[in-house]
Subunit: 337 residues, 2 copies
């Protein structure tokens, strides 16, 4: 799994940070200003990020942005963590159906549940969007927000990615974790703005990314106050994808971001909205180009389709991360959460 390489890199990074690297002449980074993005190779993507941050934080400079307006928004699936071969939330949904099936013997013969229980993807596909919505509602609603938080929290610590055989919260992108921390160190407020269901993310984003619950925006379902608690109702409210992302950014944050990272056509409007304001703006796409270490997909992929947004990125000179060449490491070292 490349863990030896990770260890070697970490030791190297540790030496660099502690100022113990070879002769002074070999230094590329001052020990007083260690590289904030050690998992990034030098290149246009890394330079675009650090140049932007230096410009907007330079007091008195032409591009200075006051801290209150330093808002950065990040898609989650495929931008901050792996979304292949299927969204993590789909695996959670499957696991929940299997767990709940014990209380629902009729599900063995009833679609869309039978398709999930029999791992019959073809039958599942024929149930269409209605089937998917039914699965989402039965696994995600009918309990309080606090109970759902507990359910997700219990699941996320033991569930594993089918290929990488590690918890999903260790299938986050180490270079992006560094970008989040780097931005926060420079006075930015970092937000997640994801198509994933909001309360599926909130239980673990603080620990994984350092992003607190109140800075996590996602697809929302309706809720009501009942017996002093917030009950989750089986009805979609706001779909936080495509044009829904700017709508929710305006509603939750009330400020136009100056930085946005995405990886798919579902992020296109968020990047357009971010770059649509005056002053310096940074729009970045994560391009999945590394089949060996992660996955390689874009225009033709059903999950994380990157087609129109890739064209627009080329036209408008948005920054496109080439995962294969720009990232030294993909995931955090094993065992680190």
């Amino acid at each position: 799994m490349g863990s030896m390489k990770l260890v070697v890199t970490l030791i190297g990074a540790g030496l660099l940070l502690s100022g113990c690297q070879g002769s002074p002449d070999s230094r590329t980074v001052s020990p007083l200003h260690p590289d904030p993005l050690p998992s990034w190779n030098a290149g246009p993507a890394k330079r675009a990020i650090t140049d932007f941050v230096e410009r907007v934080t330079k007091e008195g400079g032409p591009d200075f942005v006051p801290p209150a307006d330093r808002i950065a928004t990040f898609d989650n699936d495929g931008t901050l963590w792996v979304e292949q071969p299927v969204y993590t939330e789909a695996i959670f949904t499957r696991d929940r159906v299997e767990e709940l099936a014990a209380q629902h013997p009729d599900w063995k013969k009833q679609q869309p549940y039978a398709a999930v229980l029999n791992h019959d993807m073809k039958a599942l596909a024929t149930t269409g969007q209605k089937g998917m919505a039914q699965l989402l509602m039965v696994t995600h609603t009918g309990m309080t927000v606090e109970d759902f938080d507990n359910t997700v929290s219990a699941w996320i610590v033991h569930a594993q990615h089918p290929r990488f055989k590690r918890p999903f919260t260790q299938c986050i992108y180490q270079p992006m974790v560094e970008v989040l921390a780097y931005l926060r160190q420079n006075g930015f407020k970092t937000y997640i703005v994801s198509g994933g269901e909001q309360e599926f993310m909130r239980p673990w984003t603080e620990k994984a990314y350092g992003i607190p619950k109140e800075q996590v925006i996602g697809t929302q379902i309706k809720t009501e106050l009942k017996n002093g608690a917030i009950l989750r109702l089986p009805q979609l409210d706001s779909i936080d994808d495509g044009p829904g992302k700017p709508v929710n950014i305006a509603r939750f944050i009330g400020k136009r971001p100056i930085v946005a990272f995405g990886n798919s056509d579902g992020d296109q409007q968020m990047l357009e909205y971010t770059t649509g304001g005056p002053g310096a703006r940074l729009a970045v796409l994560v391009h999945h180009t590394d089949a060996q270490r992660e996955y390689s997909y874009d225009r033709e992929s059903k999950i994380g389709t990157l087609n129109k947004a890739l064209d627009e990125a080329q036209e408008k000179h948005w920054t496109v991360i080439d995962m294969k060449s720009d990232w030294k490491e993909i995931f955090p070292p094993a065992g680190v959460q």
Copy 2:
């Protein structure tokens, strides 16, 4: 306007803060720990607030709450600023109707507009909730969020309270401004959770209260992404009052507050929700008891009705601020914004 008294008090506070007060024996407050709530008289309300903050911030103490969970929510109308004789937003709505009337000559004969233009409260009342909703929509929607922000920002600097003859942002309660700052100094995140329309508040809350836009939750109208901007549509979305307050707190913040301040029955569920969690909790009602310096009203008032929540406060020993005896000053010194 009592401005001399304000000046005297300010000079006194300034002397106290700079450590220049008389003999050491007369000190009631250490110069190293100046009173964080100088506009409050000593009494049970002030003590309840400072005792609570000391308990939850004492590391290793039985009531310690980590900073990430120090969430405090505040109603706005009647809790942070004056809501009598009518809500400030109603005055904005009236002024907007008068301004827009130039482009709508038909309004002179058409309700509910004619009632507003003729200052005919009786006729306005007969148009009922439908008339009110119509006025809200025509004055608050049909433009982008940024245009509405500019409209409110331009209005709020020159509009004046009919009785106090000062800008509405100087009709905020100085003792509450001190509570907000005191909580933030102690690691709290302070939020507004108000029945007022969200985007009517966001343009001025940072300057008036130190609360940034992203920590302002209010009644929301529907919006859509159009030509790269967020367009405000003439349709209510979420009513942030009564049970809607806990629902929106869960949606926006995702954490149960440990502190909540309100002043009316519309805040009752927010205070119940806040006190419904485990550990130390602080629920406070502002009771308007000072007809001379502000207003005196509670159970029978049409605006800011405080009836059921007052009963519950007495039963559950919530803190009730007696404005007349607890507050040395009501408003900030004239000229300060």
